[in-house]
Symmetry: C4
Subunit: 211 residues, 4 copies
């Protein structure tokens, strides 16, 4: 009976399946659009142009991994939802709005890194966008928790987005934004580290096991 | 037995699952493509360029929220479908055609706002596109209602796109289009308000509850 | 028992669910990308620029409807598949390759219509692309038919892509390609008519009924 | 009971359904984005410009087929997964990062072919990207095999990405990268041949049969 609750019919009524479909679409598409921000520019030989475009590659990798980490967290969250509710769908739309916005600051960072002056401004905008995505992901989790939208945890199951997990990444972003006002390249390195941290150390234990 | 009607097999036969897949895809892509319309331009410092691009951000948010509201209404509609029919698929294609068109007037508005002359024309096109999306969404609902494609409402269930719900948004769009001929910025503010209204006050009661 | 054959598990083994997922993605994305081909250019007032861009809108609508019609036919086809096979997946990939290519000739037509000289060449390429999509759609159907991949037809069920249905559209494309060598605008009008024909008159009887 | 393991609920818990959704999205978008890399340039008549753009078409076809082949292999792999695990999701994200990157070197090759000097560098980058995609696909398979994530093979079932299948494609890529340092056009021809080989000769026996 409790498992019968999770048939496609039930999921449709709960409004989680199309929330996932739209979210997977926006995450996948935003991640793929990032490649349009990579470009090479004269002067120089082809190889020099390619090597000089390193900020493009760095911005691509950091943004892609951040979106990937956000998607992993989003999956972990929706997998545990017992039901959805209208406000959750709205918070999710705001999160997608921020995720879909990321290619813009990524492009600015890709084009400006090692340009004195503009890079500080653009790296700050980039950091604020990453921070917003993280906060909205946290809000989604906090709301689902507060409204008891999650299914009861199974034995030994780990919960994603625990407040104690939020602190390192949130702290990392805030420190990086401040540092970026002075040394933008270091800030980007911290964003890279945070993305790696979220991908590598978050929830690396299996969520569920067969059998 | 009635619930057995809604297995994946049944949904496939009814042609609603791929209608949803294509629709989710177009909604998600159109919303994500909007970011390509955001750009900064000289002259000015990096910060000035960023701040001067506010019409880009405004147009992005209004269009994203309008697509989001359209997707919420679309989900509410298809969730209640007991079956599809060929004409419904065609009306849906027309709706997607209008949704996928939205990034174009969004780009025009983003580039023209606070440019005397062109902005009136572009904001009018933008408003007409929003109006068309809304009317086609209404046509989809009216057709489904007329052809009895909806499953019978469950007790206490709210129906989306009731005619009385259509009036405020439709009226808002029509008034905004007229106002936009004189004061385009005010029209965009109204489009923003309508999108917020549709997202915040439409169907904020749960569609269904677990258990 | 026969219906038990169409569970998600069964569909996965038959390889049709992800073939549909990839196809829906490419159809939806190609249709949405078309909007990037719409652009306005000086000289003229904003309104004149907007009106002068009519070939953009025409090309957008024709391509969108052609992709929509192709998607309807594809849905009708995969809905009837009892199983997939490796060669079918390959033919499907070729079809997707042609569908994903369509935004390129669409852009050329949008930019060249009413430019003497180049428009003939570009409209011909456009027509050849449409013809290729149609032929590959037909090949997909013919192969599925030949290899008995379809489930037996249910009583009164209509089969899509019958050879007799192919002739009007194929004939229309071939005639339009020839006419386009002399009067490109007329060819585009015929492509529009063929898209409307495929959407409006193909399979407008219900594929399946509830109850 | 073993088949009950593969219900949507079970697949959700195993984390394979949304891994597939995100992957199908990225494969489909990356393949479709390739069309933006096709462009024609003056000088010459419309027909000459179109014919001179042959490297664009070649690069489009090679990249599309490579992504298609990667998708076929990915489908074959995930279809056989009995369960997912966190590290598998991470390797998959890396694979998607490489797939989504492919439009960039494709654009470079499309723009540079038959330009002495730059083409060698760009074709080498292109080959390294293809090699990376292939290696990450192999890593995904090797990890799943090592961690016993696959369901036991059914009788007569063929396993994709067997090490003996890897050698021809990997060898082809490595040889082509070396050759490309001297004769880039030949390298692109080899990439084309490898894509065809992967699509045409890999796993052309049915994966599963109905009944």
């Amino acid at each position: 009976m409790p498992s019968g609750d999770d048939t496609p019919r039930a999921r449709r009524l709960l409004g989680t399946d199309r929330m996932e479909a739209l979210s997977d679409g926006v995450f996948a598409f935003a991640a793929t659009l990032l490649v349009l921000d990579i470009a090479i520019h004269p002067p120089g030989t082809a190889l020099e142009q390619l090597l000089n475009a390193w900020p493009s590659y760095l911005a691509y990798v950091v943004s892609f991994l951040t979106i990937g980490a956000g998607w992993l967290a989003h999956t972990a969250l929706t997998d545990r939802l017992a039901r959805s509710d209208p406000l959750l769908l709205r918070i999710n739309l705001l999160l997608l709005l921020a995720v879909a916005f990321l290619p813009f600051p990524t492009r600015l960072v890709a084009e400006s890194l090692h340009q004195v002056g503009s890079e500080r401004v653009f790296v700050t905008l980039y950091g604020l966008t990453l921070l917003t995505i993280r906060l909205l992901g946290f809000a989604l989790d906090a709301y689902a928790r507060h409204e008891h939208l999650y299914a009861p945890p199974e034995q030994g199951e780990q919960r994603a987005d625990e407040p104690q997990e939020l602190l390192p990444t949130l702290g990392g972003y805030m420190i990086a934004i401040l540092i970026g006002l002075v040394v933008p390249e270091v800030a980007v390195a911290i964003y890279f580290a945070v993305a790696l941290y979220m991908i590598l150390f978050r929830e690396l234990r299996p969520r569920a096991r067969a059998g």
